[in-house]
Symmetry: C2
């Protein structure tokens, strides 16, 4: 690959990720990116059609690291590669995220429709905590705030799936799926 391209892309990526740590993705302009990267306007558009294009490219690049070469991750965190379970696979992913936490934090803090979901999630977590009398705290070592955030977020995921599949499942069934998969049957 042409060195100039590599240099230009690197400059754009760096500027973009830097900006991402300062402000929301939605408020970052192409102008700011090229100013920060110190490249010509036309140069940017020679590589990316839109700002979304750039984000996609960055995501793609990031994830190529996350999901490739589990073995490497294992090697660097001393897991026996024979124990190839989902749990370990997920653990390896988490280690990778942790190793590059700065980059991922920037991306993870993007938001937009999140305004909506965060409303929903907050309300749900409160709602769930209100029904907690049947739940024995202390029996497990799962932090209460994790449990509430997680269940709220997981329920949102169920709702998202529900809408993706055109609400063809009845609410009762959906809730039963949710309850079954989260072991919240008792509530």
């Amino acid at each position: 690959m042409d060195r100039r391209i590599k240099r230009t892309k690197a400059a754009i990526y760096a500027a973009f990720e830097e900006l991402l740590s300062e402000k929301k993705y939605e408020h970052i302009t192409v102008q700011e990116i090229i100013d920060r990267a110190d490249i010509g306007r036309s140069t940017f558009y020679a590589h990316f059609e839109t700002r979304d294009d750039l984000l996609k490219a960055v995501c793609s690049e990031l994830f190529s690291h996350v999901f490739s070469d589990h073995s490497k991750a294992e090697a660097s965190h001393d897991f026996s590669s024979e124990d190839d379970t989902l749990k370990n696979a997920l653990t390896h992913i988490l280690y990778h995220l942790k190793d590059d936490r700065k980059r991922y934090s920037r991306i993870f803090s993007c938001e937009s429709s999140e305004i909506f979901w965060s409303y929903f999630r907050k309300q749900l977590s409160e709602l769930i905590s209100g029904y907690n009398y049947g739940y024995e705290t202390g029996k497990t070592d799962i932090p209460e705030d994790f449990r509430l955030d997680f269940l709220g977020g997981a329920f949102i995921e169920a709702v998202k799936w529900w809408f993706r599949t055109d609400l063809k499942t009845s609410p009762e069934k959906l809730v039963s799926y949710f309850a079954a998969l989260t072991g919240q049957d008792q509530l």
Copy 2:
């Protein structure tokens, strides 16, 4: 409340939600909203400071319906109000969403950082499905696609929580929480 204000806000809301069903939130401009609502530019800014402000207002209005008056929801869907469990509460919420599915669909389809999460989720679901040999299909009536989407999304929620709390939990512990709350211990 002044009728003019009510009319103006209604016009803005209608135009906004209409646009929301045609394009992504991020690409909707104030210009389009006031054109569609047929109101003066200054009038819009008299009610909302920014486009995000408007979205927040719409969300707030929408959720005030979702989380208020469970009793009403119960009445209209014949639940015995004595059975006040979390499951029923969630079911009622789902019914409400279903009743107003058109409005909610519009909001739900917003995206932005979703570009990132959807990448992640897709990969995760694939990963999980690869470890499914231990899972007995057919034993439950939970659809396979729901299970995969859900577990992927739920794991993302765990990761989000992880980052919100500054990665202070070890990857192993986080995965064990996830496994415990989703009954995926066996994998």
